[in-house]
């Protein structure tokens, strides 16, 4: 009885003096004692409350109230990566417009929150092990985001990101980069390094370079920015970014393709390209290459490429582990990019088909969307949009649809306003 009550309070997250997970027990191995004993109701556990997981949890409940949903998330608040470049470049004063909580989402849909860090998954026992205890599932949705392949970079240590931030997970890292930019004297040099595709948010590094160039132009006009791209060419919204750089940021922003950083020296704020060419900055933003988050690896969800999780593109069920579904940045989802909107869209497809599977109903083919805005100034934005379908088991773009904004920039002002609404709608969808 006492145990039940304790669990109940924790699960609701209404911390009446009880320590909430994650922060108190960082780095611990987790407990295998059952924290939320499973009753007769069927249960879906969702791991990760970001763009994918929060939506998956919500839509499973919207589609079938008889299925219990437990959402496991490390942090009590979620901070959006999309639009965090606005904050970094000083176009937002703080991160309040990027931040959401889970209270309303949980209350509106009867989702059971567990604020804890998942430390392991036991696919045979159908259990997630967390810092607060074990949780049993019938089906598990894993939406853990990315981790960095730091081991591929010579000189990268546990402390590197505290000196040369990646700022590729929004929050303290974003603040660090912003503060470094603000502290940099006029005439300084900013170096941004971006990895080979695929990585989270393909247009993100280009938008970041653009908005930091805007910041320099406005506040530190003698400064320079170099964008080192490991790719041979711009991988997203190319003609639009090129035009923006040419029209607005000439002499400030220099784009250098084919520059793969292989070593870093954080103390000297230096990046080494292919072991020979050295780039030193006053502010260095090194975005390492990426893979599915560590928990996906521990659960045996990462495929032959040793980076990402192969899934059935109708159900998003892992092709490697039964009853575990993977969505968002960590999944291999055909033509869908690793974006917030893709994760949102995949979460719904996954929810529809998990509910079908659990009720013995027919599956439904994927229909998905991606819409992504990037700002090119403080009042202009550009976009890419796509509609996805499934062909021979693979997610593909519907032919002759989607694409980028007109290159004449006739829509950029309107798209800036639409971008703001995009953020508001998608975060509202995740938090209510």
């Amino acid at each position: 009885m006492t145990l039940d009550r304790r669990n109940f309070i924790k699960v609701l997250g209404s911390a009446s003096g009880l320590a909430l997970a994650g922060c108190a027990t960082q780095g611990s191995v987790g407990s295998t004692s059952e924290i939320m004993p499973k009753g007769p109701a069927r249960r879906v556990v969702v791991l990760g409350g970001g763009y994918g997981g929060a939506i998956a949890a919500k839509y499973v409940r919207m589609l079938d109230k008889s299925i219990e949903v437990v959402l496991i998330e490390k942090n009590k608040q979620f901070i959006s990566c999309p639009f965090s470049n606005f904050y970094i470049a000083g176009l937002m004063n703080d991160m309040s417009a990027l931040t959401i909580g889970y209270d309303k989402l949980a209350a509106n849909h009867g989702i059971k929150m567990l604020f804890a860090e998942a430390t392991a998954i036991d696919p045979a026992a159908k259990k997630v092990i967390t810092t607060e205890g074990a949780v049993t599932y019938d089906r598990l949705i894993v939406s853990p985001g990315i981790d960095f392949r730091n081991e591929e970079v010579e000189g990268y240590t546990a402390d590197t990101a505290n000196i040369i931030p990646h700022a590729w997970k929004a929050g303290a890292q974003s603040t660090l980069l912003r503060n470094q930019l603000q502290a940099m004297p006029d005439g300084g040099k900013v170096v941004i390094s971006m990895p080979l595709a695929p990585f989270r948010c393909p247009p993100g590094p280009y938008e970041r370079a653009t908005l930091i160039a805007l910041y320099l132009k406005k506040h530190k006009p003698k400064s320079k920015l170099i964008l080192l791209d490991a790719n041979a060419d711009i991988v997203a919204k190319k003609p639009l970014f090129m035009k923006a750089w040419n029209n607005y940021y000439k002499g400030i922003l220099e784009y250098m393709p084919g520059k793969k950083v292989t070593a870093v020296d954080a103390a000297k704020k230096t990046l080494l390209v292919e072991g020979i060419e050295e780039f030193k900055g006053d502010v260095v933003n090194f975005i390492p290459a990426q893979r599915a988050a560590a928990i996906a690896g521990k659960a045996g969800l990462i495929g032959e490429d040793k980076k990402w999780c192969p899934v059935n593109m109708t159900t998003f069920e892992s092709t490697l582990q039964k009853n575990i579904h993977v969505i968002g940045d960590s999944a291999i989802a055909g033509a869908m990019p690793k974006s917030g909107y893709s994760a949102n869209s995949q979460a719904k497809v996954c929810a529809i088909n998990i509910v079908a599977l659990m009720n013995g109903k027919e599956l439904t083919e994927l229909s998905g969307v991606n819409v992504c805005y990037s700002a090119i100034s403080d009042h202009e934005s550009i976009s890419v949009a796509a509609v996805y379908t499934i062909k021979d088991g693979k997610i593909v773009s519907v032919p002759n649809s989607g694409g980028i904004s007109p290159v004449d920039f006739s829509m950029t002002k309107a798209e800036h306003a639409y971008g703001e609404s995009w953020l508001r709608n998608i975060l509202t969808e995740m938090s209510t």
Binding site: V349, A385, A417, E420
Partner: protein, 193 residues
Amino acid sequence: MKQRWSMWVLAAGALSLSTTAFAAAPPTAEMISFSCAGCHGTSGGSAGLTMPSLASQSKTAIVDAMKKFKSGERPSTVMGRIAKGYSEADFNLMAEYFSSQKFHPTQQVVDAAKVKKGASLQEANCSRCHLEDGKEGKDDTPVMASQWLTYLQMQMALYQSGARKMPEKMAEKVKPLSKEDLEALLHFYASVK
């Protein structure tokens, strides 16, 4: 013990399903429409000032809008590119879904004097098509009530510039109205809950 047994049965059932079920039916109304919600809000209730709520719109209005986005007749930023990804049958499924969602009231700041003036202008000029103070969508007439003022203003600007074509009946009624009258009307519609 009893609980445990039922868990086993469920687990075994799920396993056999996931191995056998590969065939999938074509996208349903929900499958297609859920993708719209990232920008238009869950169940088509928008929280973004430039995005219209789709909830409770009439089927004809939705299909009509999507066809015009697809052909380029109605100007847009992303909607034209997105509409090209769907067939007319898909538009009908979206229409079926959003028309059956509950009306989405919004809380927004409006000018009380403009709302008052707008109310009488609506009654005198628009009420034959925009039924129930714009709350009811009929045929190709969209639901105006509670749409965000910013969205309404952007659309009216497109009408005024000629980029978006007004239906003839609407053009007749709008022509004699002043800029201030139109602004008052939009404040009125935004205020209706």
